[in-house]
């Protein structure tokens, strides 16, 4: 599976117009033909496609992701430098949107078609339709430039010399806006899934039975309806992890967060094949890991998924 990913990425970059040397020559404002040739030789770009693919795959087998042409540094170093920022951004956004989305979903789904449900559904629909880059722009202007409550961009105050808790607080304040922009949209998504899930569960026999037993409404909502409706939400979380990783590209570019998405953009514009493949590979592994965790979570939540059954 990962091999297919590698192959596809490699072919994609192979078909690209312009290579790493073209991109580099441009960035330095020109150079003559002999420079271009010696650079191509140095990067091994003068070898055949298959030779380079073979070289890459065989070094990959030794967990070596190769050398970034655009940055002149090992790919693995670059990735580990940027990954924590993206994980922090994605993790907080996921946690926030999952928590908020499911809570609001429960509120909305507790009394389907009530006024509260209608308001929440409408707001979430609008939020979900807003492009994240647009939301990011508006948030940054209102809260960072006009009100000056929060920093406009970056991941922490540069060269501040802060350590420990003050540094953590500093990073947190830088993350509020990008996380907010990303989380608001996913909150809307989770809210809608949760609410729809609850609406389905309300109609099921065991809920009708519980109601006929005269259990209190809040008890039914929380113990029976919400718990069962949470399952599709967890599945959704796994499915969305890849999308969220992709969505962070735009948000990172707006808020100048030195993360994975921005690295990917730089890799593409620098025609840096090893770096882009490294990024796609690591994000694929990341998505696989997230889904593994979610399968475990699913098993814990749903008594029907036993140890004997293969995980969903």
């Amino acid at each position: 599976m990962l091999l297919i990913v590698i192959l596809l990425t490699f072919l994609l970059l192979e078909s690209a117009s312009g290579d790493a040397v073209d991109a580099y020559l441009l960035s330095i404002g020109g150079g003559d033909a002999t420079v271009a040739q010696s650079l191509r030789q140095a990067y091994g770009l003068d070898q055949s496609v298959f030779a380079r693919l073979w070289l890459y795959v065989s070094s990959l087998a030794r967990f070596d992701l190769g050398w970034s042409v655009a940055f002149d540094r090992p790919v693995l170093d670059l990735i580990f430098e940027r990954l924590p920022n993206t994980l922090l951004l994605m993790g907080s956004a996921t946690a926030l949107s999952f928590g908020l989305g499911s809570a609001l979903g429960i509120v909305a789904g507790a009394r389907p078609e009530s006024a509260g449900d209608r308001v929440l559904s409408t707001v979430s629909l609008i939020l979900y339709a807003i492009p994240s880059f647009w939301l990011g722009l508006v948030l940054s202007i209102v809260f960072a430039v006009q009100l000056r409550w929060l920093p406009t961009s970056g991941i922490e105050t540069i060269a501040s010399g802060k350590t420990g808790l003050t540094r953590a607080a500093d990073i947190a304040s830088h993350l509020v806006l990008p996380v907010g922009a990303l989380a608001l949209i996913y909150t809307a998504l989770f809210l809608r899934v949760m609410r729809a899930g609850m609406a389905d569960v309300w109609a099921l026999d065991f809920v009708l039975f519980a109601r006929s037993k005269g259990l209190s409404r809040s008890r039914i909502v929380l113990r029976h309806v919400a718990r069962n409706a949470l399952l599709p939400l967890v599945t959704m979380l796994g499915l969305q992890s890849a999308a969220m990783l992709g969505g962070s590209v735009v948000i990172e570019s707006i808020f100048a967060v030195p993360g994975f998405g921005r690295l990917a953009q730089e890799a593409v514009s620098g025609r840096d094949a090893p770096l882009l493949m490294g990024i796609i590979l690591v994000s694929a592994v990341l998505v696989i890991c997230i889904n593994l965790v979610i399968d475990l979570l699913y098993a814990a939540l749903d008594p029907r998924v036993g140890a004997s059954e293969p995980a969903a």
Binding site: A129, A243, G246, V250, A264, I280, A284
Partner: protein, 274 residues
């Protein structure tokens, strides 16, 4: 027809249908509503909206009519969204059908390919694809479809697997129908509806992806798109916010229309099953 009538009974369906019908009419009659090239320089640059009756929504940085851009942008957004969804579903159906029907090694191989596409962030894929191949409408459509076909493929296969063992398929096999014919005549029609239900989500996602790509400067420069209007308006966001607000609203309304319609469909489907 009955379905559409049922659809109109739900408030979501009606609202969504209304919004989309209006947008489609706008898209179809764009050359009549606003004749000429919407990219032409029509007036003074940066006219404010609601001031000059000739340019109700003002003009942009180069003096292009914003209203004309929005009207013609409807075409691009809808065309790209729908074309990408059709392409994604077509690829998904074919692969899903082949995987579900063939079984064995073929199925195994196809499923791994589907997996591979599902674990790669689709926006990253589209970004790389468009910047590497070059920005034009067909490339953007293909890039979006490449990131979206895996879900319908998976769903189709699941449908095929559940239908394959049903009686009428077995009957068809007994009377000696060719497997391809069975797949085409018996299985496809039954597997289709749930896959089509996915289509609204794909259309909405495609419209947003197209906008995000244009926003990052990866749109076709020969036509107007809302995403590129927002991207250009972004440079003057503080002094002329209307330049990014109007296309933003158009985008939001379109996506809401698609969602409402899909929700209306969902309700009528649930209603007809009950």
């Amino acid at each position: 027809m009955r379905r559409i009538r049922n659809l109109m009974k739900t408030p979501e369906g009606m609202a969504g249908f209304g919004i989309l019908a209006t947008l489609i009419l706008v898209a179809l009659f764009a050359p009549v509503l606003s004749p000429g090239d919407p990219l032409r320089i029509a007036g003074d640059p940066l006219l404010a909206p609601f001031v000059d009756p000739a340019f109700p929504l003002g003009t942009d940085r180069l003096g292009r009519d914003v209203l004309a851009g929005i009207i013609h942008g409807t075409r691009t957004s809808l065309a790209v969204g729908i074309a990408a969804a059709i392409a994604a579903i077509a690829i998904g159906l074919c692969v899903g059908l082949a995987a579900g029907f063939a079984g064995g090694l073929v199925e195994e191989a196809l499923m791994r390919v589907i997996d591979a596409f599902q674990i790669v962030p689709s926006f990253l894929l589209a970004l790389a694809f468009v910047s590497v191949i070059g920005a034009s409408v067909p490339v953007v459509v293909l890039a979006i479809a490449l990131g979206a076909w895996a879900d319908p493929a998976r769903l189709t296969r699941a449908q095929v697997l559940s239908i394959r063992e049903r009686d009428y398929v077995a009957a068809a096999r007994v009377i000696g129908m060719h497997p391809v014919e069975i797949a085409w005549k018996e299985i496809l029609p039954n597997a289709l509806p749930p896959v089509l239900a996915l289509s609204a989500i794909i259309v909405a996602a495609a419209i947003l992806t197209e906008a995000a790509l244009s926003f990052l400067g990866l749109g076709d420069p020969n036509i107007v798109t809302w995403g590129s209007m927002i991207a250009e308006g972004r440079n003057v966001l503080r002094s002329s916010p209307s330049l990014s607000i109007f296309p933003g609203i158009a985008l939001v309304v379109t996506v809401i229309g698609v969602y409402l319609l899909s929700e209306g469909f969902g309700k009528t489907l649930a209603g007809s099953e009950a």
